[in-house]
Structure formats: structure tokens, C-alpha cells
């Protein structure tokens, strides 16, 4: 076989995936950017010509600004809480010499194997006005009226932390596992205390895992739809819920696209700033 023919055969390996991603991911994204500049129309998804009015409508209305801010805040708090909760768990999984490790690992993975609709539904059973927590507290007699655990930001954040926790634990665990134990011994032989070893040696070395976990959870939380829709109900709406309402119910394709793109743009900006601040290359 001539080298040229061998080379052309190699390209056949990547061709189907390249066509799939090129035609069904890149082109649709270019298309949605174009649609966001289209004027709205009656009886059709969008009118002829191009305009900036969709972006203008978004930027001039404080209602959308507030919602964008809320969505970012929810995603930020979710990532921060995920990090706080995940680090000790990742630590135990990476370093604990316990026999239970396999079981614990399975528990951490378990949410990934259960659909997001089902998990959010589980939280509605726990948090609802007639749910597990409120009923138990009422039966004990601690409360007379149900605590507002659902249909608010608290419920959304709690459920989102649950939904995305594995995406934080796994990268941090990976990073902690790759820290050379010799470094720790070296630090100890030089007289460093446990706290100092953690602060100066182990934590900095686990930063790549912390960083990719935070980025992943932040992006996922910002674009989450099911959990806010089920737990937030009609009362608290995040941007993705409003975007879907605008596109499907109100049938305003251009404005919905503009909103979705603004949300993604803000998300991307925050991720880039975060990556810069943590002084690491975007991986």
C-alpha cells in the first residue's frame, strides 16, 4: 500500500465524527447566532432582514438583568457549596485506606446513573410543603406552618448541589490521587505540620482538579433546566427556564436565541476570568 493511500484511509477514521460535529453542532450554533439578529414576525419563527432589537430588548429590561444575575448567583453558590462538600469526600476516596472505598465510590457515582428528572422529583418529595421534612417537623410539633423549602432559591441550590456533586468529587479525587506521597514525606521531614503540608503542598497540587470541577459545575448549573423548572415552579425562574418558555410557548425564536446566547456569553466570560484568576491554563 502506498503511503498516500494509507493516509487517506486514516482520515476515514475521523470523517464520520467530524461530519457529525461539523454539520450538527457547528452549523446549528452559527445558525442560532444568525437567528438572534432576526426581527420577530407574526405567524412565522422570524422575519426578514437583520436587527439588533432582540439584544436591545434584553439589555434595556431590568427584569432580564435581574434574572441573569439570579442565575449566575445560583450557579456560583452551587459551585462553592459543591467544592466545600466535595473536597473532604474526594480526600477520603483518594487517601482513606478503608475497605468501604468501593461502596463509597459507588454512592458518589450513583446520582449519575439516575436521571435528572427523577432526582429532582426525589427532592420535591423531601422538600415539599407536605414533604418528608415538613411532615416530620409537624408531627414532632416543632412547627405549625410548613417551612418554605421549595419553590425558592434555597430548594433550587440544594437540589443542584446534589445533582452536580459527582462532577466536583471526581476531578478533585483524580488530582489528589496523582499527588506523589514522597512530597508529603519530604515536607514532614523538613518539619512542616499537617496543616502546613496541606496548605502549602497538597492543596496547591490539587488545584487542577478543583479548577476543572468548579468550571464544570458552574457551566452545568448555569444551564440547568429540569431542576429549576420542577423545584422553582412558577415562582423562581432562572434564565434557561425563561428561554425555553420564550422559545416553545411564546414562539419568539429570535428573542429566545438572543437570551440564550447572552447567558452563554456571560457564563463563558466568568469561566475565563476564573481560569485567569486561578492562574491555570484552560484545559
Amino acid at each position: 500500500m502506498t503511503p498516500a493511500r494509507a493516509n487517506s484511509k486514516r482520515w476515514l477514521l475521523i470523517a464520520p465524527a467530524a461530519i457529525l460535529v461539523g454539520v450538527f453542532l457547528v452549523l446549528p450554533y452559527l445558525n442560532i447566532i444568525l437567528i438572534s439578529f432576526r426581527p420577530p414576525a407574526q405567524g412565522a419563527p422570524y422575519g426578514a432582514g437583520y436587527t439588533l432589537q432582540n439584544y436591545g430588548k434584553f439589555l434595556s429590561d431590568s427584569f432580564y438583568w435581574l434574572q441573569l444575575w439570579n442565575t449566575i448567583a445560583i450557579a456560583f453558590v452551587t459551585s462553592a457549596l459543591c467544592l466545600l462538600v466535595s473536597y473532604p469526600v474526594a480526600w477520603q476516596l483518594a487517601r482513606g485506606n478503608t475497605r468501604m472505598r468501593g461502596l463509597y465510590y459507588g454512592i458518589v457515582l450513583s446520582p449519575l446513573l439516575v436521571g435528572i428528572v427523577i432526582r429532582s422529583y426525589g427532592w420535591t418529595i423531601i422538600l415539599g410543603n407536605n414533604g418528608l421534612i415538613n411532615r416530620s417537623l409537624r408531627d414532632i410539633g416543632w412547627i405549625s406552618a410548613p417551612l418554605p423549602l421549595m419553590y425558592n432559591t434555597f430548594g433550587i441550590v440544594l437540589a443542584l448541589v446534589h445533582v452536580f456533586l459527582p462532577f466536583m468529587v471526581l476531578p478533585i479525587m483524580g488530582a489528589l490521587q496523582s499527588v506523589d506521597p514522597a512530597l508529603e514525606s519530604a515536607a514532614r521531614s523538613l518539619g512542616a505540620s499537617r496543616t502546613t503540608i496541606f496548605r502549602r503542598v497538597i492543596f496547591p497540587l490539587s488545584m487542577p482538579g478543583v479548577q476543572s470541577g468548579c468550571i464544570l459545575v458552574f457551566i452545568l448549573a448555569m444551564s440547568a433546566y429540569v431542576t429549576p423548572a420542577l423545584i422553582g415552579g412558577m415562582r423562581v425562574k432562572t434564565m434557561p427556564v425563561t428561554v425555553v418558555d420564550t422559545l416553545i410557548d411564546a414562539f419568539q425564536w429570535p428573542f429566545g436565541s438572543a437570551m440564550a446566547l447572552m447567558l452563554s456569553l456571560c457564563g463563558a466570560l466568568i469561566v475565563i476570568i476564573f481560569a485567569r484568576l486561578t492562574r491555570m491554563k484552560w484545559a
Binding site: A17, L25, Y29, P111, I116, I118, Y121, I126, I219, S264
Partner: protein
Amino acid sequence: MKTNRRSFQSGRLLLNCFCILVYLFLLAPILVVVGASLNAGAFLTFPPQGLSLRWYVVFFNNDVFMKAIRTSLVIATIATCISGVIGSAATLFYARYAGAAREWVRIGLLAPLLLPEVLTAIALLFFFYAIGVGTQNMIALLVGHVLITLPFIFLNVSASLEGFDPAWELAAQSLGAGPWTRFRRITLPLIKPGVIGGCLFAFIISFDTFAISFMLKSVGTSTLPIQLFDYLRLNFTPEAAAVSTVSILLTLVVVIVTEKLLDLRIHRF
């Protein structure tokens, strides 16, 4: 020294207690759903009022949910097969021949995971209308599912290729093995765990995914998560819990069968 050790031990105890609380937190909604499905009463309450399987009977007689389960299984199977073949081939190319384009191939194959799924779903919906295919048939839905499962094939297969030494293939070649024999006897056995692990994840992701199915489903066909979501907006009977439990069990069966039959370890989420 003694106090140091004691503080270390109490620190470890504290860590373990904290972790157990987190594990309870992780399991809570799943356990609650399974528990609620056994409710004998007409309303969704937890803890259940008396145990019964009546809501499973209701569910198995509900054609809408049964049809949705079948649709989900069919879509997940087809999407996994297509994604597995396309993704494994692309990952082989990435690991060996991509050269300067390596980083681009990686970004391209991971893009569906890094881009917001809702936005990808919307973009695909508009695109399928723009090219005149629409969502009358299942093509759009299938394309969407193949797209979002692709990164999971890539992550798993590329992990199994990490320790792959090209010298083995050269050795086989020098012993007279043709390209097909080399692939069948050397490469395939090496990447098999990655391919199977990737397909396992692809199947689960496809079976459970929401946004893509929500936007791209054709009129009259629903996957299980969509049907469940619609149902939950209006109803509060324990039937939804029975549906969820069956869905969880199906996933669990797939995982266990794959693990036992093919003897592999899941090494990537």
C-alpha cells in the same frame, strides 16, 4: 506528640462523619423515590402509608408510560451503537494520527459536553427546521443523542489508549499481519474495556437525557424522562415514583450485566 496523634485521630473521625452525611445526602432523593413507590395510599407521601405494589400495576397498565420506556430503550440502543463506532474510530485517529490537529480533535469531540445542553438542543431544533427535515421523524432526536453521547465514548476510549505502545502494532506488522488482522488481534482487545465502558455511559446518558429529547422529540413520541416530567407537572400520585423506580432498576441492570458479563471496571464517569 501524643496530643498530636489524638488530634489527628479525632480529625479523621470528623472527616468520616462528614463524608457519611454527604453519602446520605447523595442517596436521600433516590431512596425516597423508591420508598414512595411502595405507597399503598392514593397520594404521594413519605414515609409511605402501608406497603403495596398497586402503583406498579397502574404503571404497567399505563400505555403512555410503557410506550415511552420502549422509545427510550430503542433510542438509547441505536444512539449507543452509532456513537460507539463513530466515537471509537475518531478516538483511534486522535490517539495516533491526529498530529498537529490533536487539540482540535479533542475539543471537537468534547464540545457537546462543554456546551450547555439546552442551547445545543435549541440550536439543533432550529437547524432541523432550517434544512427542512423538522422533527416529524426520529432523525433529529437520534442525531441529538449521538452528539451528546460522543464525549463519553471519547473519554473512555482515550483513557484505555493511554498506555498503548505503537511498537506492538509495528511488531505485528513485521510478523506479516495485515491492517485488519492488526486491528482485530492487537488494537481491538486493548481498547475493548474503554469501548464497552464508553458505550455503557452513552446508553445511560441517552436513556436519562432531558433537554435534547425535550426539544427534538417528534409529536406523539416521548422518551421516559419527558413523559415523567410532563406527568409531574400535573399529578402527584405515587405512580411517578413507580415509573422512576423501574427506570432506576433498568439502569442498574444494564450496569450490572455489563460489569459481570464483560468483566470491566468503570474508570471514567
